[in-house]
Symmetry: C2
Subunit: 342 residues, 2 copies
């Protein structure tokens, strides 16, 4: 099927639904789509408008028994990118800042690092220098900073770092720089029978270190990039050690693979903010039946950041350009969000 | 720490608990450990005895606020092997029978298979001939029978086969040959805040084809062996195709890796039936705090099967021999189960 017929199919279906959804509403959510900004509004930090209405209409349609779009609870799967979708990713991914802090802490035991320009930049806290060699350089730094530990120990190290580290702009813990409107959306979906998953390009254990507390998402509902785990034995106990060997990159084309491997069901809703989410958004919205794809646009330099196609972090071009034809909703942080942080 | 001190530690802790657990019970489960075989018994198909008591005591201890063994609900993770632990695995793994049926169905389109002794055995339905080349041979058959499909299509093929295929001994669908006592245990654990996972050496998509309906375990809580997934594009849609290349073997030492990768938390309870579960049982019971490890022994030739150290399917030797010193409970199907199937 061509993109053009996809376009007609999606728009056609949405047109039909816009006209027919309200009369057939019969669920406990029946009033939701007209209860904007009123007491009981499940999304109070979302301003009234097409994006808020799209979410409320989608949830009403898939949860209303008898609706042509009804989806049983067991198939209500929603996936969320993390960096830039659930929390701040500028001026650099939080995990990169963690890696640089770890490299600096480990540097005295690793004098050879001083001979390497990449590691010198990392030790100096020079984000641009650390990112200058691209993904390969970042993976070298990540391997040096993060490998050699058991997953359980690594999660504890990450949690300890998150408990004390502060973002420089706001002087607040990184876990306080999560988006209140997205927290409300996660809770709203779960209250309607959805299982919510994080599908992040970041390291799976790093995200698991805070996913339950920050988002209410348990570790087993976090999918991410990973190093290989090497089994061993120490003091009569089985050990697992993270090796500096990439096992899986959960970004771009890796996201549908991670979803199929880990969830085993195609999501019916997906939320991202960059071209790294293009494949996940396509995989989600190309499935049969009613689907929802949304992209968070960072267009609010006063309250957060403004960036898209020219950014080295969270680049958003193709997914934004194709959003209209694919039926994806572009969320404006500036216009759609009454509040940014919790 | 040596196995001997492990032994003392586990036995010592269990001795203390056996003496102290009852007085501190204060949860809704307080009566459970003395309510054997009475109305409201959560495990009616389990006969009274040390195994039933061990399960009831364990659940009471980890769910009782104020108990020294209390575990918050978010850390109540229980993992179950599938073949031989939740359903029948004799005379051959059900998935192998599925593979042979698929090979037979695909044989007319693959005339070259007739030149290969392994495939001739498979086409003839000769289980021993198909198993004669060991794991390598089985993986070749599995690749030929199962690869080249999308995960979603493969799950549908497996579900369709399961809906019509019959076990020869009982002339019943394989999904009716699941163990009623284990179903009760799964439900009992979930009612007490546990998340229940399958950790199977079988193919992840095969188990996902029936896990929700048979066990109440959603696809995303199934961990299994897998083929590589190859991304592609067809008719303007993203595709994923199962390749005949092994991606992960979730058996033996692979089980702790699969658990760490997928769940991200160490289980506090694990249930298996063969030496393929030895690593999972160790990984689970070597963690700190109260733990439960159980092994289902197939010792009931009249109602099911009797096999252990000499069986080519579900071999049980090392895990059985080490069970006493490791504090693992050996469940006798003959003595502990009042009923085998649902």
């Amino acid at each position: 099927m061509s993109l053009d017929s996809d376009h007609r199919r999606i728009l056609g279906r949405r047109g039909v639904l816009a006209a027919s959804a309200l009369p057939v509403l019969a669920s406990p959510l029946a009033g939701a789509s007209i209860a904007l900004a009123q007491p009981g509004d499940p999304l109070p930090s979302w301003r009234d408008g097409p994006r808020k209405r799209a979410m409320l209409d989608f949830v009403a349609a898939v949860t209303t028994a008898g609706s042509p779009d009804f989806v049983p609870a067991s198939a209500r799967i929603a996936t969320f990118d993390n960096d830039g979708t659930l929390w701040v990713e500028q001026p650099a991914y939080t995990q990169l800042i963690f890696i640089l802090d770890r490299i600096r802490a480990l540097a005295p035991q690793n004098p050879a690092w001083q001979q390497d320009a990449l590691f010198r930049a990392a030790i100096a806290g020079d984000l641009h220098g650390a990112a200058a060699q691209g993904t390969d350089g970042l993976l070298r730094l990540a391997g040096a900073a993060q490998a050699g530990t058991a997953p359980e120990l690594f999660q504890r190290l990450a949690a300890e770092w998150l408990a004390t580290a502060r973002d420089r702009r706001w002087n607040r813990p990184y876990t306080s720089l999560i988006y209140q409107p997205m927290l409300e959306l996660l809770a709203f979906l779960r209250a309607n029978g959805f299982a919510t998953f994080i599908v992040s390009g970041g390291g799976v254990e790093f995200v698991r270190a805070f996913s339950q507390e920050a988002y209410g998402i348990p570790p087993h509902q976090v999918i991410g990039s990973s190093f290989a785990l090497k089994p061993g034995e120490q003091d009569g106990r089985i050990t697992l050690t993270r090796e500096p060997v990439v096992d899986f990159i959960d970004d771009g084309p890796g996201k549908p693979i991670g979803i199929a491997r880990h969830i085993g069901q195609r999501p019916i809703a997906a939320f991202g903010n960059s071209d790294g989410d293009w494949h996940m958004l396509r995989y989600t919205t190309e499935g049969p039946g009613r689907r929802l794809g949304m992209i968070v646009r960072h267009d609010d330099p006063d309250r957060e950041y403004a960036y898209d196609r020219d950014s080295h972090v969270g680049r958003l071009a193709r997914a934004m350009d194709e959003a209209p034809q694919r039926g994806w909703h572009l969320v404006s942080m500036r216009d759609d969000w009454a509040r940014i942080f919790a």
